[in-house]
């Protein structure tokens, strides 16, 4: 099944990683910084998946959501960029039949 996603605000592009002593410095294009609301000092956990590097934001400085509504209608409104598209299922399942 095709992975349907809204048109991205910016096109994906190369991100440069340089080594500085024991630390690695990531240079991110300004457009991505703006869209993902990346702030100086944000921390990311990096995971290598099938040759790609996946960055998940961690740390306390991450933009937080705010509650709207009351009781049954109460929900947490998340800032833009809080949800991360996961792309295609890495382990797609066969079509389901009635034999499960």
């Amino acid at each position: 099944m095709p992975n349907l996603e809204p048109e991205p605000a910016v096109a994906g592009g190369p991100v440069r990683v340089s080594r500085n002593g024991n630390a690695r410095t990531l240079t991110v294009p300004a457009e991505i910084v703006a869209v993902a609301q990346i702030e100086l000092g944000d921390e990311y956990m990096v995971e290598a998946i099938d040759g790609d590097l996946l960055y998940r934001r961690v740390g306390r400085d991450r933009p937080r959501g705010r509650f709207v509504g009351n009781e049954g209608d109460r929900s947490l409104e998340l800032p833009r960029g809080a949800g991360m598209p996961v792309g295609a299922d890495p382990i797609p399942r066969a079509l389901t039949d009635w034999d499960f």
Partner: protein
């Protein structure tokens, strides 16, 4: 709270809490011997479906706010079948498939099980009881279940921390409901008690939970007759 990924994938103790009959039925609870109805059709629109009913292990899927009406379990509940993880092809890192939620060592036999979001159905509330409940999720396990549900339906991952924050008042509500039951009070009266204004708090106890004041509501619970 620990950082996401610090203890990944989760083990049984991180995913499931100790069972107690005082715990109200909650989203993510797992039950055995739940009747699951399959209605296999023929090749034509007017063909009558071949209906089969199988007793299966299933996970309660309804969100807690829709699961109850004024403290009483709603008649119709939504469940997802629980199946062996190996049959769904779940990887050791739990990256996929997106259509399932891993349930690590659900039965204490070392096997990985999973709630199958492609096998969802409705059951009567009478089949979801503390007698046939075999597991309940921890707060972290519950957040993970909701994260997997969102990924399955939207292909978007919500940060576990956000899910913790969004579900905190509901989690506190169920924890205090369990305490309420442990005190021997009538379970069906808890929701009305939550909606009463508390003079020591300044607003209703439910509002206090929504504002993160669980300790005040807990004090009111222990202090009230």
């Amino acid at each position: 709270m620990r950082e996401p990924g610090a203890d990944w994938p989760l083990n049984r103790d991180a995913f499931f809490r100790q069972l107690t009959p005082r715990r109200p039925i909650f989203q993510g609870d797992v039950f055995r011997d739940v009747p699951y109805i399959k209605g296999q059709g023929g090749d034509r629109l007017d063909a009558e479906p071949k209906v089969r009913i199988e007793r299966r292990t299933a996970l309660a899927l309804t969100y807690p706010c829709e699961m109850y009406a004024r403290g009483v379990l709603a008649r119709v509940q939504t469940v997802a079948l629980v199946r062996e993880g190996s049959k769904l092809g779940i990887s050791n890192e739990w990256r996929g498939p997106f259509s399932a939620c891993p349930l690590p060592d659900l039965f204490g036999d070392g096997m990985l099980w999973a709630a199958d979001f492609l096998a969802i159905g409705n059951v009567d509330r009478s089949y979801l009881t503390e007698v046939n409940r075999v597991a309940s999720l921890t707060e972290r396990g519950w957040a993970y279940l909701r994260q997997r549900l969102a990924i399955y339906l939207t292909r978007v991952a919500i940060h576990l921390e956000d899910l913790h924050q969004a579900g905190r008042a509901t989690w506190d509500e169920i924890e205090l409901w369990e305490q309420w039951n442990a005190l021997g009070r009538r379970s069906s009266e808890y929701q009305d008690w939550l909606d009463l204004p508390d003079p020591n708090i300044g607003f209703t106890r439910r509002q206090a939970l929504e504002r993160g004041m669980r300790h005040l509501v807990a004090s009111a619970l222990l202090g009230s007759p």
